[in-house]
Assembly symmetry: C3
Homo-oligomer: 247 residues x 3
């Protein structure tokens, strides 16, 4: 069996929105400890991983299951969530469906067909990074939107003094500079100045669910994939994106 | 002559918006008692009826007239209404126009050409229904939007305990259950459990003008058209929709 | 050199938005006195002129320069302004760029390539007008939007009693009447009743940046171009539009 209750359907909607921009389908691995999933995007450029620890649920009960879900349908359903709705996720093994229930003064139930996919063996690799930037999520998100004006890739740069988000076209440039003591920076852990270019569309998809108040951890090195971590509604999200080789 | 003043142009806009989704043109029958109109939609599946009793107007003066109006043009004009505008409707018999006037600190006047259509003989049939559901309009509207995710028709079900809005595709399902004692239900008058399927697009058009606080009456039987009644800004709206025969 | 600081990037955005709907590129003439620009739109129907006096800037320093800018790119950048951002405009003569900097808790810098265009010799002609209407900008803007429902041109009429914005199609009409003592009218200076027709798209572009609280001056005569003047964020904007010859 599997049944989990989350306090805010609206918050969880952000998680599904974000994941659904990068993946078409997902296989949730549920067990006593909680819910996990990890997958590469269809073009194998980005890795998406999420973890919902048992404690993030108001109520939780689960045996071991793999639950394959079409993310387009899941996203459509989650978009119907209202502000004060609780979210109940529950596996209907007889009908082979995942029930998605919004509970408020009334009860609205959606049943999603299970997909016959099994969990990938993808894991977030255990790499040690020389630099970690903790930054206000919305400031980082806005800097990426700035970059998006004139380019389809972005350069992330960090040294002991500052974190820089830079982009340029043939004619125009954008640059957001976050000094070490700027109010947007929570901490700047730098062992070795680094600079790498990344595909902007992927990065923007990865931060899609972020809103004011969320904090993002950016792990950055030279010639290394960037790792991005944040939590939404008790869900831990991790993204990895390979650097772009500049021509 | 005909001249009527309504307190809120913005509220009346919702009436015109709703009616204009179902009908292309309308013939208002005005007389001393008030304003009436009734018509079938172009594909003859849905019946629309509205009544504005004399008392719904702040000021009212009328002889007998039939006033044919293009609803697309009327809707465009009503969409220009601002929050505090009064609405004056007045027949200009010399120019053969309906003047639509928004009065606030200034005065904005639109003149709509009259159409040469006469009132239909359509009437809401005087059927006795076994079941009447009184429900908060926005709750019903949201349940229809839920149903719209996966299907183009919806099943309405009622028994002594609950009212249910259900829809399904090959893969997925949605269901909103309103228990008798749910806060969305005002009353549930059930003589005979009933269940019928209806075209979802039409139903959604019919409830278009509903907002928070509006109450809807749903008359439901087996193999009967559903009747939907509610009031907007003093205007009584009635809709009838034939059931869908399931294959 | 040139460097100017404006208090509100968000306010200046409205100026750029408005000018960019009419012009593709602009040549700012800067000197000790402030910033100026004037140009005809590409179809040579409308004249756009703007002046930013030195005093409109919080800080200002400039030699004589002509700064050619692509307005599409400038508009994209200005759309990234946030509510509390200051705006710094600064010429980078070495790189041949205009830096557009948003300063708040952080600092976001955009660099726009300079275009090789020189200032036009266009000037707002020094015509004496028989009539001047001072009107609340949003009331005028709404009247133009009303007119836009049924026509692609609008008739502006003024006499000693009122200012009228009128439009009609074959079937329908719209008319906004502003009486001399209406709260939307600040003043009505009329020497000779006048009436002229103008292209509605151009007029609507010209008032695009206007919001609640802005006051517009309309200079109107018979067979004369209409002149429209207002200020946004300390920037004086003037527009001239040739009358339409009615067939």
């Amino acid at each position: 069996m599997f049944r989990g209750v989350l306090e805010s359907a609206k918050e969880f909607k952000k998680v599904v929105d974000t994941v659904a921009t990068l993946l078409d389908e997902i296989c949730f691995e549920v067990d006593e400890e909680g819910v996990k999933a990890a997958a590469m995007d269809p073009s194998h450029v980005a890795l998406v991983s999420l973890e919902i620890p048992r404690l993030a649920f108001e109520e939780y009960e689960a045996d071991s299951h793999e639950i394959g879900i079409d993310l387009e349908a899941f996203k459509k359903v989650m978009n119907r969530a209202k502000s004060k709705d609780k979210l109940i996720l529950e596996l209907d093994e007889d009908k082979n469906k995942l029930n998605v229930i919004f509970e408020n003064t009334g009860k609205r139930k959606f049943s999603l067909a299970l997909l016959d996919i099994s969990s990938s063996s993808v894991k977030v690799p255990d790499i040690e990074y020389p630099n970690v930037i903790m930054i206000k999520g919305d400031a980082f998100k806005e800097a990426l939107k700035d970059a998006d004006l004139f380019s389809d890739y972005v350069i992330l740069k960090v040294d002991e003094e500052k974190f820089v988000v830079h982009a340029k076209s043939d004619l125009n440039e954008s640059e957001a500079v976050f000094e070490k003591d700027s109010s947007a920076i929570i901490s700047l852990d730098v062992k070795e100045a680094a600079k790498s270019a990344f595909n902007l569309d992927y990065l923007m998809d990865m931060v899609k669910g972020i809103s004011k108040g969320d904090i993002v951890k950016i792990y950055l090195g030279n010639d290394m994939p960037v790792k991005i971590e944040y939590s939404l509604a008790g869900v831990n999200l991790t993204f990895l994106l390979a650097p772009r080789i500049e021509g």
